[in-house]
Amino acid sequence: MAVETGLGTTAREALSSACDRVEEPGERDLVDGVRPGVVARPATTEQVAEVLRAAAGHGLTVVPRGSGTKMTWGQAPTSADVLVDVSAMDRVLDHAAGDLIVDVEAGARLSEVQEHLAGAGQRLGLDETVPGASVGGTLATNASGAQRLLTGTARDLLIGVTLVRADGVVAKAGGRVVKNVAGYDLGKLLIGSFGTLAVVTRAVFRLHPVPAARAWVSAPVGDATDAHRLVQVLVHSQAVPSAVEIDWPASGPRVVSVLLEGRPGGVEGRVASARAALGTGAEVADPPSAVATYPWTTGLRGDDRATALKLTFVISGLAEVLTAVGEAAAPVSLRGSVGTGVVYAEIPVGTDAAAVVSTIDGLRAACARNSGALVVIDAPAAVKQSVDVWGPVGALDLMRRVKHRFDPEHRLAPGRFVGGI
């Protein structure tokens, strides 16, 4: 884009008048190694809009941030003049328990939202996959965990959104009712867009009741065929599982777990049938430690971090994916929602570069043969440079056209997303 960028004195003044808190960046403000020019901490949607108008006026690039727990995900931005940190916008604006909805600011932490809702016996069906994650960051990365089998993902829960465009215009879509087909569903477009289309400042979600009883049943599994068979039995059973998870470490015991929720009597009965289905060794266990967490250590930002992968496939592809894991050149630990075909894998830090590349290629091919994809969620810079982070993407031209309409100067999180968007 032929737009002059630069964070000169006038630009800084414009940003300072747009927002009370404009600060110099520190070490923890790096976006996957890229040092932002300044950090703006707006307190309201209107301040976010002012900041974005100031940035637009001076041709500045903008990277949005919630709690900052996933800033190394995706590709590093090509530029980050202004880091727009919305963590000060952390209020639960309205919890209408009788309507099963909650209206929150984007910087609100998921755990605090859940705590708020729990008082009314309700929950937002989104797992906190990284401790401290915000609502906005969870939306931007489309993060999901074990309960996606029951409640779906952000796209199934978000019913209204307020956003600020690259040009500073504030807009909303959806509303406060679950059933609503008026206008385009912009929320879905923003989910998983890594901050490249707009800055989300507020979100309305549908909620679910917290079940009176819940129990995990876990069973050890041997090989890929064994795991595949058990998962098929659970998924097609009448047990109505809330989650079907696998923990498949590079070494050590492998476990398939199922979560059953509902009324005490009902859960009891379904636990019995799940145990029978899982066979010898199945036991009712506390929440497995592997649930709703990634198989890698989160919170690392340097070259000491592992290569983190997301694998998707149709559920009949599980055996093939697990077999590919076993045949990979690198040791691979895998975990996730085998009930939906979305799992996460770790290639440990220190693995030989060629082995990382060939492992990614092999696993990506296995996913692709099963209608899915592999995305390198996070990795040290050297790995990101040597592999195709996002992999092949369908309808990329249409995605570029959407990006260009929302952000014609390509100033929002430039380069972080698919196809260099």
């Binding site: 040009d167 406060r176 059933k179 998707t312 009949s316 309409r405 929302f406």
Partner: protein, 490 residues
């Protein structure tokens, strides 16, 4: 808009080359059979109708439209209730009813792949032998098509628990308004990139046309119980609904009918609903047997606590069909008690039900226009049927006025102007009451990305089309001419 007769002639020639002889309609009398969808008071005769039998034929026609700047409108079974498939007088109506193949049913992966003309209920019929079904169930499911469902993001009685079409469409082959075929989403979840499919589902045919859809199949529940409950008033029935939800129960459906709607249903289908009821609820519970049995006891108790005077339970399909008969026939049944009627589709937060119903009664009393209420109580989706006799001068206008006032009530209570029927032609004028100019402008950025020439179902949803050549507003420091020139360059 003046007719582009040369462009239309070119599209007709191309269609004749691509399609079988009987699949291109130019005869005036036959064109007229397509002049409206389920919202029959809007009528426009299309300039040309095509009935492609394949995605390649359909894409070829769209490409010809793009090359000749001719607008097109997609239509499935034509059952829509907002005029979304209303033809364009100078455009092509692309009817997908001949694309009716179920391309695959894969219970192992809980998926089905179907062409857009496939009838909603046929997906369930194909999946049932495997223990699965397709959850979205609009009332018209025996005749409406998946393509139309995708365009409108159709709901139905059971979306309270299972969600809408958008939650059950995982992938699609999609023809852009330029005539290119691209894949959106896929059989596996979370395809990388923007969720374009999420934007396309419910976009009412304004972004392009889906030529195949990958659908999620849901396990048939072990147990289903349907309960018919009679109350003295809609207030009581509304309170019972709130109590059930507050107890943490998510029924598959909670439907309400008021006295006038019950009267109409009795006249039409003799459903034998509780005599003297001011309101009935139809509540359906499904899931594992042990859970359903426990929930049933709670629901019965909560209804009794809120004043129910009669309860009947159906545990087998025949009894269940009897209970649903009254509810599902309600729209048509209103024809028995009124020569004409308007159907509304507003949504309110569930907790506002009693207040809004009283306000509707007040509107009805003040205006002398009768309103029968049939609705999805569980999710606050109202279908007030505003009754009138078109033979009486001014009656239609009075009904329209009441109908509009009901939508205003929904907006005032933080709801929506449409829960499942779509905006289409019918409600585009109401969009500015729900959304700001900026909201609508931002939505139209999506439109401009997909369809910069505004040829895909133009004139629907948005009251004022956005000129896509314009540089999106208000930013400074850029060169407008350069940007305008760059608009389609990557």
């Amino acid at each position: 808009m003046t007719g582009n007769s040369a462009g239309l002639a070119a599209v007709a020639r191309r269609a004749a080359e691509l399609l079988a002889v009987g699949d291109v309609i130019t005869d005036r009398a036959r064109l007229r059979t397509y002049e409206c969808d389920g919202l029959a008071h809007y009528r426009v005769t299309p300039a040309l109708v095509v009935l492609p039998q394949s995605a390649a034929q359909l894409a070829g026609v769209v490409r010809a439209c793009a090359e000749n700047d001719v607008p097109f409108v997609a239509r499935g079974s034509g059952t829509g209730l907002s005029g979304g498939a209303l033809p364009h007088a100078d455009g092509v109506l692309i009817v997908t009813s001949q694309m009716r193949a179920i391309l695959g049913v894969d219970p192992e992966d809980q998926r089905a792949v179907v062409e857009p003309g496939v009838i909603n209920l046929d997906v369930t019929r194909a999946a049932t032998p495997h223990g699965y079904y397709y959850a979205p169930d609009p009332s018209s499911q025996q005749i409406c098509s998946i393509g139309g469902n995708v365009a409108e993001n159709s709901g139905g009685a059971h979306c309270l628990k299972y969600g809408f079409t958008t939650n059950h469409v995982l992938g699609a082959d999609f023809v852009t308004p330029q005539g290119d075929v691209v894949p959106l989403g896929g059989a596996a979840p979370d395809a990388p990139g923007y969720d374009l499919l999420g934007a396309v589902v419910g976009s009412e045919g304004t972004l392009g046309i889906v030529t195949s859809a990958t659908l999620r199949l849901v396990r048939l529940p072990q147990e289903v119980r349907t309960i018919l409950v009679g109350f003295a008033s809609t207030d009581q029935a509304g309170s019972a609904t709130s109590a059930i939800i507050a107890a943490g129960i998510v029924p598959a459906a909670i439907e309400m009918m008021d006295a006038l709607a019950i009267e109409a249903a009795e006249a039409a289908v003799r459903c034998n609903y509780p005599a003297g009821a001011g309101a009935v609820l139809v509540i359906e519970l499904d899931g594992a047997t042990v859970d359903v049995v426990a929930e049933y006891d709670d629901v019965v108790r909560l209804c009794a606590e809120n004043g129910s005077f009669e309860q009947r339970v159906a545990t087998d399909p025949a009894e269940r069909a009897l209970i649903w008969k009254g509810r599902k026939s309600a729209f048509a049944a209103v024809g028995r008690i009124s020569p004409d009627y308007l159907v509304q589709d507003g949504v309110i937060p569930r907790t506002s039900l009693p207040e809004v119903l009283r306000a509707i009664q007040e509107l009805s009393r003040e205006s002398g226009v009768r309103v029968a209420n049939v609705f999805h109580a569980g999710d606050g989706n109202l279908h007030p049927l505003v009754l009138f006799d078109d033979a009486i001068a001014g009656a239609g206008d009075a009904a329209e006025k009441v109908s509009g006032a009901i939508l205003d009530l929904c907006i005032q209570h933080g709801g929506s102007i449409t829960g499942e029927h779509g905006v289409g032609m019918d409600k585009s004028a109401y969009m500015p009451r729900m959304f700001t100019e900026e909201d609508l402008d931002t939505m139209q950025l999506v439109r401009c990305a997909f369809d910069p020439d505004n040829i895909s179902n133009p004139g629907k949803i948005f009251p004022t089309p956005r000129l896509c050549g314009e540089v999106p507003g208000r930013h400074q420091g850029a060169h407008p001419l350069q940007e305008a020139g760059m608009a389609e360059v990557f």
